[in-house]
């Protein structure tokens, strides 16, 4: 299976990726801007995401909301911001492709004339409510803030979350929007994918007609930063939770770098699903935990692996920490079994094919083409990406785990019920997050 496409670059620098799949009469339009919270500065966090909200509030030539015409044409749409990029997408019936391009190009080219203080204030309130709903008022919701702050130094662009600090969001000014837009929202810092029921030639002509007139901006340099952990940093938060939860994290290679695929597969066999080693020991056999999972969070500048487990009532995070470190050490010493390798490879092969089922939305074919184009500069990376997983050997996994999941260089974080620090992993300092 492959993900066929054609790539063109307009004179203003906009990358255009086209993929034909005429099975269903729908088209996905997906735009990535290569900007995320990593482009923010300390004291000004949360801005990239707040800006994303403003992109849905209308532009010069259609200043009455972004959703209305597209939903009225039968489309669905959304956008998202993470540390590395901001994406926007529509999935529309194929007869509304031109409408989607009109709308996307108008906000890429002509957002600022429609922006008002009232819209800005309203969306700042909405974002503060998004933060309350998804972080502050949710059990364990402050964990990402505390973990990123402990893993990355204060001037590192991954030190803060994409939602940002409350004070920074409150302080954001309409004037900041203009500079941000001019710096990051232009064709040379964007990539558009159009996938689905299209004729590639016609679609390219349409994209060029709508986006070709937008003037380009200065190239945005990649953000660079270093991070290293020299010891076991132990922190805790007392929170409104019933059961204590342990987080252990390590700095790991960046997305697509050597070792990234190894750690992805290693996390699965360590902690994901009923077949995993930690599930078997912590939940199935010893019953000291009520859940466990792990992930390799691959990002553009750096990655981190995080193992998370919630203690069963009557058990402490210290017991869980011992088992996690023991299993990591065993994997670093002996590597995976043949059975584990076979399962990991079978699951990777299936997942890659499952990903080809839909043209649009988060993770659909149009989103994948943009991800490969923006991060690797090569939309055809799909097959090489799969090859990374096929190329993992028991020895390469063992070596990678040994090198990166070092017990002497990690962050160990306990979130415990208020007043029950005795249930934590111990030896930790309190951290303030809000």
């Amino acid at each position: 299976m492959t993900l066929a496409f054609s790539k063109h670059t307009l004179a203003n620098g906009l990358d255009v990726l086209l993929h034909e799949d005429r099975a269903c009469p729908i088209v996905a339009v997906n735009i990535w801007y290569h900007v995320g919270s990593k482009n923010e500065q300390p004291g000004r966090t949360g801005f990239a995401h707040l800006f994303e909200h403003l992109m849905f509030e209308g532009s010069q030539h259609h200043d009455h909301g972004y959703f209305q015409p597209l939903q009225g044409a039968g489309g669905t749409l959304n956008g998202s911001t993470n540390a590395d990029r901001t994406n926007y997408w529509e999935v529309v019936p194929s007869n509304a492709l031109e409408l989607a391009l009109w709308m996307e190009s108008d906000r890429m080219g002509y957002l600022l004339p429609a922006l008002t203080e009232a819209k800005f204030t309203n969306q700042r309130d909405v974002v503060l409510n998004e933060r309350r709903q998804n972080y502050e008022n949710r059990p364990y919701g402050l964990a990402p803030m505390a973990m990123l702050a402990a893993l990355f130094p204060p001037d590192h662009p991954y030190h803060w979350t994409t939602i940002g600090e409350i004070a920074d969001v409150r302080d954001a000014k309409l004037d900041d929007v203009r500079a941000f837009f001019e710096r990051y929202y232009h064709p040379a810092n964007a990539s558009i994918a159009v996938a689905g029921d299209i004729d590639s030639g016609e679609a390219l002509e349409l994209v060029d007609r709508y986006f070709g007139e937008i003037k380009t901006g200065a190239r945005v340099d990649n953000v660079r930063a270093d991070a290293a952990l020299a010891r076991d940093i132990r922190v805790h938060i007392e929170d409104r939770v019933e059961l204590p939860r342990l987080y252990i994290a390590w700095l790991t290679p960046a997305m697509f770098a050597d070792g990234d695929a190894e750690l992805d597969l290693a996390n699965d066999l360590l902690a994901n699903g009923k077949t995993s080693r930690l599930y078997k020991r912590l939940v199935f056999d010893e019953r000291v935990a009520t859940d466990v999972f792990a992930s390799q969070n691959s990002r553009e500048i750096a990655g981190y692996t995080q193992v998370v487990a919630t203690a069963a009532p009557g058990h402490t995070l210290r017991e869980i920490e011992t088992v996690v470190l023991d299993e990591v050490a065993r994997l670093a010493a002996d590597g995976p079994t043949d059975d584990e390798m076979e399962r990991g490879r079978a699951q990777a092969e299936s997942q890659f094919i499952f990903r080809l089922q839909t043209v649009g939305g988060f993770g659909g074919k149009s989103d994948q083409l943009n991800a490969y184009n923006v991060f690797v500069g090569d939309p055809s990376y799909f097959e090489r990406d799969l090859a990374r997983y096929r190329g993992v050997t028991p020895e390469s996994m063992r070596r990678t785990v040994q090198r990166y999941l070092d017990p002497a260089a990690r962050v160990t974080m306990s979130i415990v019920p208020r007043g029950r620090l005795d249930l934590g992993a111990g030896g930790s300092a309190a951290v303030e997050v809000s």
Partner: protein
């Protein structure tokens, strides 16, 4: 490339005629043991999705045994024959299959998606899981314990607490009055024998439908199902449709205190209407306009105008019997009373004082019908759509009729069905939040004294 004409930004381009698309055709058979086998061919990708729909959901929990159906569903993949839970999942992982169990009020769906070349093996494992589970005491103790832990954790989740309190206030002791997980007291009282008896009684082929969507042939699916489900039998049971007495006392306002909470989690609604109602299409359209999409009255008011919330929405939860109508939002604490006022005004308004406009009606119809094709793109989407037909006894041409049924809805229909199925005087409002912030403002809502409830008061 040479650019042709300058583009016209003075008006939006008009979508031309839409391309027609063929709705999936369903091939149907019934096996000797009563199992229905339905196939939809969908061959873009070498993938097959199987959904085994069992007509038994959380509302089948016997009185006093809340949580039994969900616990039984959870026990299915805990081993079969000599194989342990872990070995079952190793077998699934070895073929790269994705397995899932979902339980709702009216039914349970066990699904597996895999590459087509291993689909027969995937279905074989699912048959072992559903028809021949080991149901061992040893696994039961662990699985029940995990569910009790989960219940404990849910007490900290404002959304989960709001949902549970809301259902209890609306339905009382009715089978729809509890969430599938049950409660601490009912779960603690269950035994493995209860699970075995429930499985024997409720999980049988006569009340199940196997839906296969993907790169597969119906005749082969029938042979495969006959083979892997061999020996699976159960007496045909008459579907138990318990009577539906709504809670006898109407509580108009309830507060679950969550001191220090930065937001109030709101649920506003009442028991409304069943899936088989002839008003289904008009209600779907009315809901889209009121709160069923981003561009709806409720969301535009509470989010885009007031900035009280990240999002607000409404839904009719259509079920076999009368399901709830609910407006839900999580709003900043200081705006609690105002958000409730606005919400109540929106619900009351659409019934008459502020009937839908022709523009809103046309927009709602367009939004529900023009993009209809995108609900049928993937095998999983098609499977879920076909599942609705089986679950609610809908005719095969249901989806083919959908667009014209929605297009036929008038403004009068919307007013009529909202007046018939939504009654502002019967709405129950649940707030999970910090009372010190909003208590003083509640009296002006005119909902009477608030009933104060604990987060685990069910």
């Amino acid at each position: 490339m040479a650019r042709a004409l300058a583009i016209d930004r003075s008006k939006l381009p008009d979508p031309g005629p839409s391309r027609s698309f063929a709705l999936p055709a369903i091939e149907k058979s019934r096996l000797a043991n009563g199992l229905r086998v339905w196939t939809v061919r969908h061959t873009q990708i070498p993938v097959v999705s199987f959904i085994l729909l069992i007509d038994c959901g959380a509302s089948a929990d016997p009185a006093g045994q809340d949580g039994l159906a969900a616990l039984t569903a959870d026990m299915l993949d805990e081993g079969s024959g000599d194989r342990s839970a872990i070995q079952m999942h190793q077998a699934l992982a070895l073929i790269g299959a994705q397995f899932d169990t979902d339980i709702g009020s009216d039914a349970t769906a066990v699904s597996v998606t895999s590459l087509s070349r291993v689909a027969p093996r995937a279905l074989g494992i699912v048959a072992d899981i559903v028809a021949r589970p080991a149901l061992r005491e040893f696994d039961f103790a662990r699985v029940r314990q995990l569910r009790l832990h989960r219940l404990k954790q849910l007490k900290d989740s404002p959304a989960a607490v709001a949902d549970r309190v809301f259902l209890k206030l609306l339905y009382g002791a009715d089978p729809y009055g509890h969430s599938p997980i049950g409660s601490e007291s009912t779960l603690s009282a269950l035994s493995i024998d209860d699970v075995r008896a429930f499985h024997q009684r409720e999980i049988g082929p006569a009340s199940a439908t196997l839906i296969a969507v993907g790169d597969c042939e119906h005749a082969a699916n029938v042979r495969l199902a006959e083979d892997v489900f061999t020996g699976w039998t159960a007496p045909e049971r008459s579907p138990t449709i318990p009577s539906a007495p709504a809670a006898d006392t109407l509580v108009r306002l309830a507060v679950v205190p969550r001191p220090g909470a930065p937001q109030s989690e709101l649920r506003i609604g009442h028991v409304a209407v069943e899936r088989s109602s002839p008003d289904y299409h008009a209600l779907s359209l009315a809901n889209a306009i009121l709160g069923g999409q981003f561009v709806s009255r409720v969301n535009l008011n509470l989010r885009e105008d007031k900035g009280f919330t990240y999002g607000a929405r409404t839904a009719f939860e259509f079920r076999r019997r009368r399901g709830p109508f609910v407006l839900q939002a999580s709003v900043q604490s200081a705006a609690t009373a105002r958000a409730i006022e606005e919400s109540l005004a929106e619900v009351a308004g659409i019934r008459g004082p502020r009937p839908v406009t022709q523009e809103e009606l046309s927009f709602g119809i367009a939004a529900l019908t023009r993009g209809y094709a995108r609900n049928f793109e993937t095998a999983d989407q098609i499977g879920r759509a076909v599942m609705q037909l089986a679950l609610y006894d809908l005719p095969d041409d249901y989806y083919a009729q959908y667009v014209s049924r929605i297009e036929a809805v008038t403004r009068d229909d919307v007013s009529r069905v909202m007046a018939a199925h939504v009654d502002p005087a019967r709405l129950t409002t649940v707030i999970v939040g910090d009372p010190s912030i909003f208590t003083d403002e509640l009296p002006r809502l005119g909902l009477g004294a608030a009933q104060i409830m604990a987060p685990d008061a069910f």
